[in-house]
Subunit: 280 residues, 2 copies
């Protein structure tokens, strides 16, 4: 396993590998790796010859009042985990490698990124699609694997790839959960024991939604039921509960197409998201 | 020579070629090819194994009141000229191939594109960098050649490549001029005989500027001299005369760095641009 800080040096190495017909798999991360990330690495490794993981807490996707500074980091542990998963190259740039002085180019998705987390975090998805564009150009992946945990992000990256014609297959890895159902997230490490317990209601409310849909309830009553269940827990504030068409991210009027049910809540100071996709 | 309309089919073909180690040269154009374009093709051909030219009048880079509809087109002639220059693949998409229904992703350069033509043509360079990003991803060039005629465009594309980490070498081809000095442009075909004659003053004013710089004049007196010379010709309206640092596109205060002297004028209904770069 090799570790690269320089975009240019890694890109040269990977250009050479591609000339020899090697297929490149890529898992972009912000580090502080957990079982969710590792599951994505396994998916990428199965499909390709060379596995690249990036570890970069991208400042462009954090708002001024967000948790950039406190975002958890542990490169030594990440390195050990990557080695175990058979990662060939870790890309671990610093901010100046990615955004040198005079940087002035941005990529924007203007429809899907305006709702859900995009409405709450202006500029967030601009940061995401800009850094993913850069990472794709540096790593030149044949296959890139993203976690369904960030469902809107995945949908926007599918759009980025389609609209800008990246020669990249985007694969979505399922959400990996703790034994008690909490979706794995680097941010979980910031939860107090008590808040971690409260956070369990998030997935429970999504499971309830699934049952109610199977029971034939309509969109507004399912949404109310989720909000009600979340409302029982004190110290938890709802950012949004949304039931949307997965393809357009427009509000769903029925459960007839593929539906994304997405929840964002704050538990203490920690913002957590979770979702289920319902195929009908 | 093969002609492709489909981005996906061309991209597949070029991905295969790259796997065999072939180097790809690329000249993006809006068609109605003239000796300027052909000179760029020769530069690209000398440096690579496969020569790709695109012919696409990109609607995204035209403003609502600009000349998209009347922009000159002649694919049959372009095809003959490409064949003569040894082009291997022509990429000739239609608007729906490039911007399918639901298209929503844009690339923007936010500093260099705000001045000169960018100030006069809002949205123009967003269209340029977006389409060039798409073309780079479809054609996957090792070398892309752009004409110095569009000096600001070249500078912005250099920035795009640097900022977004495209593995592409950008080469600048010198301006090709008619025998009487008029810079070659597809739009020249719209000039009446009389207006074509008036347009000669553009390059003459740039040559005068060069003489005055050699003579030690300062920036403001050189600029005044250009404006004065252009002002002698009736029926010609100046859009801008600018003396800028080539790297930053900021207004130059002296002639000590690399300087771009750029002129945009309207002759009749036709907007023409020209420039010289002064190396000191």
């Amino acid at each position: 396993m090799k570790i690269f800080n320089s975009p240019q040096v890694l890109q040269q190495e990977l250009l050479e590998a591609k000339k020899c017909g090697k297929r490149i798999g890529f898992v972009p991360t912000m580090g502080y790796l957990h079982a969710g990330h590792l599951s994505l690495m396994r998916i990428a490794k199965d499909k390709t010859d060379i596995l690249v993981a990036s570890i970069f807490v991208n400042p462009m996707q954090f708002g001024p009042s967000e948790d950039l500074e406190s975002y958890p980091r542990d490169f030594k542990s990440d390195e050990v985990l990557c080695e175990k998963e058979g990662v060939d190259y870790i890309f671990y740039p610093n901010n100046d490698d990615m955004y040198p002085s005079g940087y002035s180019t941005y990529v924007d998705e203007l429809v899907l990124s305006k709702v859900l987390c995009g409405a709450k975090r202006p500029g967030h998805f601009r940061g995401v699609v800009t850094v993913v564009t850069k990472l794709f150009n540096i790593v030149l992946p044949d296959v890139a694997v993203f976690g369904q945990k960030d469902a809107q992000q995945v949908r926007i990256i599918q759009q980025l790839v389609r609209d800008l014609n990246f020669p990249v297959e985007v694969v979505i890895g399922p959400i990996v959960r703790e034994a008690d159902g909490l979706a794995m997230s680097s941010r979980n490490s910031h939860l107090t024991k008590e808040d971690r317990n409260k956070a369990l209601v998030i997935y429970q409310s999504l499971l309830l939604a699934k049952l109610l849909i199977e029971d034939g309830r309509d969109v507004s009553s399912v949404k109310s039921a989720i909000l009600e269940k979340l409302g029982y827990v004190t110290g938890l504030s709802v950012d949004y509960v949304e039931i949307r068409n997965y393809d357009t991210l427009e509000e769903a009027e029925s459960f007839e197409s593929v539906i994304l049910i997405a929840v964002a809540v704050k538990v203490g100071k920690v913002r957590l998201i979770d979702n289920i996709i319902v195929w009908n």
